[in-house]
Every structure is written in structure tokens, then in C-alpha cells.
């Protein structure tokens, strides 16, 4: 396992005060919270911050961590020395930031055993619920899908020591699922203590960005470029949808920005969404003599001032 330098995560010196650490955490957490951040790796950064904060905000854990000495560098191979934490008491199951209690193997090796309250005999508690995000393709929501997800979970061994175990779950994603919805996998969260049952696992669904389609709730949008004459005279064009192509009639006199609705062609469900084709006009370049002549003929034929709406 690799050593983690929790001070480096916050960019603070080892003698930083609790207030410095709190300030550094808040500043970075605001920046990297996945619901707020635009960063692609916000999820990873935020987890790293949560783990570092779980150790450094707690004076007991921080002292134990500091005791390992400052000679360690981030990324170095590391095994905790035997009885490294003798004399320290860690309290409580309530731990870290929010509900994401799955930390690195480094963290689990140092603090995992204590984080779960030492598992005294006769103690019973239901395991915590866990949360994870799953990225799927928009097409999966139309058809349903099977997804393998790999989770790392702290599990106590026969000596009560916590080790990280990797579990692969083959999850069926039902047809009609929408971004932001949650799947609950009963009993797949943290194991319980004593006779307490395991917690649940909640999977939040997110769609991978699509080159062509945009999704808002159950509705799907796509830009449909038209030649000026197709928009002006009307036409029938082939439009891609996540379920395959359909033929769409463009009414004569369509302007850019007009939205044509394909009812029920959005994400399926009890109330299926719609698919909207947002019209755009693509301007053909005038390169050859013929093409230029055609534009000149248009200029002659139309009494059209593109800037008429501008006053002055």
C-alpha cells in the first residue's frame, strides 16, 4: 500500500493549526464537491479531501498519524508498524464527510478497525448505506442494460481486522431509467455489526455525455441542421434517435430555433419522454461560379433586409 500525505492534500505544513486545516478543507471542498464542481476529476479529488479531513480534523487521529513521523513521502510503499496506534482511542462510527465512508486501503489499515467502534461483543447495529455513481449510455436507458460495477468495501476478517475487499456486482439497469435517479440494492451496503443487518447500496445514475443528444429529465434534444431551402420549402429528412432513425417532415417556412416534437420518442417509461429536434440552418458556402450565381439570383428575387429588426 502507498503512503498518503494528508498534509500535502491540503497544501498545509505539518504544524498547521486545526483552524488552518479547517479553512484549507473548506476552500478545496467547495471547489471540488461533485455537485458544484465542473472539474472532470472532482469526484476523486473530493474523496481524497474527505479522507484527509477525516484524519486531520480529529485531534486523536491526527496525533496518531503524526506519530508515524515525517520521513514518509506520498506514494511510498508503506505498512503500518505493529501497535503503531497504541495508546490512542478513536471514537464512534460517525466518521468523515457525509455518508461516503469508503476510503483508501491506507486509511482503512490505519483507522478502519476503530472507525467501526471496535465491534464489542453483544453490540448490534445496522450497516451504513453506501452511495456510488454509475455512468451509462443514453441508449442503455432505452433498452435496459447490464453493468458490472466494482466496489471496494471494508470487511472485517476473522480477527476483527478491517481489510478492503473488492466486489463485483452485475447490476441490471432497468429500461426507462433517467439521469439523477437512484437504484437501491438492498443489503449491498456496509455489513452490519452483531445481528444488525447490512446497509443498502444506492447507485445514482448519470448519462455519459453524448455527441448528438442532450437529455433533460425524460426528454431528449438534438440539433437538426437544415439547408435553407429545406427549411423554407419544407422537406422530409432522416433524423437519428437513440432507437434508430425516423423520417421527419419539416413544415415549409420553418425558422432556426423551431422545435419539432417526436412524441414518445424520449426515454421510455410510464409517461415516456419526447424527442425534440431543434432546427438550425446551415449556410452553404458559395465557391463555384454556379453557386455564386444562385446567391445573386436570390438577392435579386428577395426583398429581404436581414438587419430590418435593427433600428438606426
Amino acid at each position: 500500500m502507498k503512503f498518503k500525505d494528508y498534509y500535502e492534500v491540503f497544501g498545509v505544513p505539518r504544524d498547521a493549526t486545526q483552524d488552518d486545516i479547517k479553512r484549507a478543507y473548506r476552500k478545496l471542498a467547495r471547489k471540488y464537491h461533485p455537485d458544484v464542481s465542473k472539474d472532470a476529476d472532482a469526484d476523486v479529488r473530493f474523496k481524497e479531501l474527505g479522507e484527509a479531513y477525516a484524519v486531520l480534523k480529529d485531534p486523536e487521529k491526527r496525533a496518531a498519524y503524526d506519530q508515524m513521523g515525517s520521513q514518509w513521502k506520498a506514494g511510498q510503499d508503506f505498512q503500518p508498524p505493529p501497535d503503531w496506534d497504541a495508546g490512542f482511542e478513536f471514537s464512534g462510527r460517525d466518521f468523515g464527510s457525509g455518508a461516503d465512508s469508503v476510503h483508501s486501503d491506507f486509511f482503512e489499515a490505519l483507522f478502519g478497525r476503530h472507525a467501526r467502534g471496535g465491534q464489542r461483543p453483544g453490540m448490534h447495529a445496522r450497516g451504513q448505506d453506501h452511495h456510488a455513481k454509475v455512468l451509462i449510455d443514453l441508449e442503455d436507458a432505452y433498452r435496459g442494460a447490464q453493468r458490472s460495477i466494482t466496489l471496494r468495501m471494508p470487511v472485517p476478517d476473522e480477527h476483527g481486522r478491517i481489510a478492503l475487499r473488492e466486489r463485483t456486482l452485475d447490476v441490471r439497469i432497468p429500461k426507462g431509467i433517467r439521469a439523477g435517479q437512484h437504484l437501491r440494492l438492498a443489503g449491498q451496503g456496509e455489513p452490519g455489526i452483531g445481528e444488525g443487518g447490512p446497509g443498502d447500496l444506492f447507485l445514482e445514475i448519470e448519462f455519459k455525455p453524448h455527441a448528438q443528444f442532450r437529455v433533460i429529465g425524460p426528454d431528449v434534444y438534438l440539433d437538426l441542421p437544415l439547408a435553407p431551402w429545406e427549411a423554407a420549402l419544407g422537406s422530409s429528412v432522416t433524423v437519428p434517435t437513440p432507437e434508430g432513425s425516423v423520417q421527419l417532415t419539416i413544415p415549409a417556412g420553418s425558422a432556426a430555433g423551431r422545435q419539432l416534437r417526436l412524441k414518445g420518442k424520449g426515454i421510455p417509461g410510464k409517461t415516456p419522454g419526447d424527442l425534440y429536434a431543434v432546427l438550425t440552418i446551415a449556410l452553404p458556402p458559395a465557391v463555384s461560379e454556379n453557386e455564386k450565381a444562385a446567391y445573386r439570383a436570390m438577392a435579386e428575387a428577395f426583398d429581404f433586409n436581414a438587419r430590418a429588426p435593427m433600428k438606426g
Partner: protein, 105 residues
């Protein structure tokens, strides 16, 4: 790290199949009951039902409650600050949706 066998399982969609009770939501978000009650009173969460035992939360509450918990616990934002932050995030989401509808013009 040890590996175990692959399990095949099917989940339920919280938003469609499972209305969450107050206890369910507290357990799912690891949030103390009094926090969740305070968020409902402040309008951060809007369950169906009149009294706490009757409250039924939708799946959208899961995300909101987890965010509210993080703001409260880690950033030490107070109750009205949490409500304000969530309102603003809703507004940003709406603006983004509006932008998406318009497309790349």
C-alpha cells in the same frame, strides 16, 4: 485486497418504486433525524404527508439531503444558508437545462 465472486442483482428505482420514510432517508444519508426534520421545516426537502410519521420522500430528496448534510457538517453553513445554497443550485440546474434545450446556436 481479496476478491469475491460476481453477484448478479437487480435494484429498484427509488424514484418510481420506493417512497422513503423519514427513517429510510436518515439511514440512507447517515443524517441525524433532527437535521432532516429541520430541513423539511425550512422547505429544503418537500415530502408528501402532513406529520413526520406520514412523510414520504422522493428519490430527489436523497441527493438534496446528502448535499445539505455536507453543507451543514463540513462547511458549517446554517439552516437558512443551506436553503439558499440549494435554491441557487436548483436555479443553476434550470439555467443549464434551458441552455441545453436551445442547443449550440
Amino acid at each position: 485486497m481479496s476478491k469475491t465472486e460476481i453477484q448478479s442483482i437487480q435494484g429498484l428505482v427509488v424514484e418510481e418504486d420506493i417512497p422513503l420514510t423519514l427513517e429510510d432517508l436518515c439511514q440512507a444519508c447517515c443524517a441525524p433525524r433532527e437535521y432532516v426534520v429541520a430541513w423539511v421545516v425550512e422547505g429544503v426537502l418537500e415530502p408528501l404527508g402532513e406529520t413526520p410519521p406520514d412523510w414520504r420522500f422522493t428519490g430527489a430528496s436523497l441527493r438534496r439531503a446528502r448535499l445539505a448534510l455536507w453543507l451543514t457538517r463540513d462547511l458549517e453553513v446554517n439552516l437558512s444558508g443551506v436553503a439558499l445554497a440549494l435554491d441557487l443550485l436548483d436555479e443553476i440546474a434550470e439555467l443549464k437545462a434551458h441552455q441545453q434545450r436551445l442547443g449550440s446556436r
